[in-house]
């Protein structure tokens, strides 16, 4: 590889990743989406057990 190609590779690989951008785009991600799906063999997401239900919501 030429020096120019090596420099380009270094420049590409040194770029910063924005985790929030990546999570938003991929995600459709577990943390933001899976919770709202009910698979036939699903394991209830914690929020189904822990999320605030009607009466608690009014209290808060």
């Amino acid at each position: 590889m030429s020096e120019q190609e090596k420099a380009k590779e270094e420049e590409v690989l040194s770029q910063e990743v924005s985790e929030e951008e990546q999570a938003a785009v991929e995600g459709d991600q577990k943390k933001t989406v899976d919770w709202c799906y009910l698979l036939p063999d699903y394991v209830p997401h914690p929020c189904w057990n822990n999320s605030v239900r009607g009466e608690e919501a009014e209290e808060k």
């Binding site: 799906y37 822990n50 919501a57």
Partner: protein
């Protein structure tokens, strides 16, 4: 010595904040990697000697996966990537796809049109303007378009536009249409260009369609379009607006659409916007719609869920994935959700209006916010995607909406609803894009969320085998 090459059609690419991407031959599919993994992906260029013992465990796993999928192909060390496979960084936010109104005009006079298309007085985008927009999309790495309108099939340069899309290797993913102009000739033109878009057609109830469309024969025309599309192997989906005159024909409509080969049906209550504001006597409340849907669900399930169907914000039954979703509950309800973008659809996709404005979504058309967004005909898209009100809107954290509204801040549902849809908030408040989407608020505060969960739990094992 072990050299590997990315298989033809796979491209190295990156965007602002998301620099480590691999686009598949199907341009809808882009995988993103972390730096360690991408060091390996970048080395699949036929020039790097890949010594497996020197790879990290994650890189080894990835290489095995890419080999299994024939994405990484062994090379003799002589072959090179094609120029378009080599790394390209787009100086903009990543967008998966664009929904593009190529015209604001329409051949129908729908009573509920939120864009008031029948009254549209603007011009169609010229072919030169369309070319410019397509080039701008490419400059930002956007290679998936959906055509909409008005009615996109009345654009006078439609076949030329198809050529321009094809020449740029952009995927025509969906055509949104009323179906009137779907005929053999159109499908031949698409086939000739090897384009297989899905058709999303409007259908507003068995025996009720003509009334909403204000055109005699509209129902007959759209049924003919469904049949033809099905025969020719084009996928179809349906949008159906609920109102007082069609809420009683849910079963008839679902059954008819299933018999026509429709894969997905999305229902929504017609909102009092645009021309529909004149039709107050025909409005349907959310409560009325949800009650009718819940009353119909036992029949829908007993009939074997004839089509995948999203019933407004209440429930979404996906036959293929065998899942039930509650569309109004967009977030997890867990602490930390405040940092999530307020709308993932807006973050991922973009809308271009018939005047060239870049908007977060089509539903922002006609709101007081619309003039705040810039036109891709006047400003480079790279700039709109890096420094503009549009960019601010598409990266808006959900917590900003919650914090803006006293009612939301004090509500226990805030991490489930995220203050709702931004376009609905704009439409409802006039111009407050951080405001409350009252429909979603009503959903949570009036017990519909609990009823939706109860129904989802009841029917979760009822998918047809």
């Amino acid at each position: 010595m072990a050299y590997y090459l990315l298989r033809k059609g796979y491209e190295l690419c990156g965007w602002e904040g998301m620099p480590f991407g691999l686009r598949y031959p199907d341009p809808q599919h882009v995988d993103f990697f972390d730096r360690d993994e991408y060091r390996l992906v970048y080395a699949l260029d036929g020039r790097h000697d890949i010594v497996e013992d020197n790879l990290s465990p994650a890189q080894k796993d990835l290489l095995n996966r890419l080999k299994e999928q024939h994405i990484a192909v062994p090379s003799g060390g002589e072959e090179r990537l094609e120029p378009r496979q080599e790394y390209r960084r787009y100086p903009a936010l990543y967008k998966k796809a664009v929904n593009w109104s190529v015209t604001g005009r329409c051949n129908y006079r729908c009573r509920h049109c939120f864009m008031s298309a029948p009254d549209y007085r603007g011009k169609d985008l010229s072919l030169a303007e369309c070319r410019h927009i397509l080039d701008e999309l490419l400059s930002c790495g956007i290679r998936v378009v959906q055509l909409t309108g008005g009615e996109p099939l009345i654009h006078p340069c439609l076949t030329d536009l198809l050529d321009e899309i094809r020449q740029r290797d952009i995927l025509l993913q969906v055509i949104h249409s009323n179906g009137r102009l779907v005929d053999e000739k159109l499908l031949d033109e698409l086939d000739r260009r090897q384009m297989r878009p899905a058709f999303h057609l409007s259908f507003d109830g068995a025996g009720r369609h003509d009334w909403l469309r204000s055109v005699d024969g509209a129902e007959e025309a759209v049924i003919r379009a469904f049949r033809l599309l099905h025969e020719r192997g084009f996928q179809t989906a349906v949008s159906m607006c609920l109102h007082r005159h069609n809420i009683g024909v849910l079963k008839e409509s679902v059954d008819m659409l299933a018999s026509l080969g429709v894969r997905h049906l999305k229902m929504a209550v017609a909102r009092p916007e645009g021309r529909w504001k004149r039709e107050t006597a025909n409005f349907l409340t959310q409560d009325e719609a949800n009650e009718a849907i819940l009353a119909y669900l036992p029949q829908y399930v007993a009939d074997g869920m004839p089509v995948s169907a999203q019933f407004c914000g209440l429930l979404d039954f996906d036959r293929e994935k065998r899942i039930i979703r509650i569309p109004s509950a967009k977030f997890s309800g867990q602490p930390g959700e405040e940092r999530v973008f307020a709308c993932r659809a807006v973050r991922n996709n973009m809308y271009i209006s018939a005047s060239g404005r870049v908007l977060p979504c089509m539903s922002m058309c006609g709101t007081a916010m619309e003039p705040m967004f810039e036109s891709v005909l006047e400003k480079p898209l790279t700039e709109i995607l890096t420094d503009s009100f549009y960019r601010e809107m598409s990266r808006l954290p959900m917590g900003s909406c919650i914090g803006h509204n006293e009612r939301c801040s004090a509500c226990g549902y805030r991490l489930l609803c995220g203050a709702g849809c931004r376009a609905c908030a704009c439409a409802g408040t006039g111009n407050d894009y951080l405001g409350i989407d009252e429909e979603v608020c009503h959903f949570f505060r009036n017990g519909w969320y609990e009823k939706a969960k109860e129904a989802a739990e009841k029917y979760r094992d009822s998918f047809p085998r």
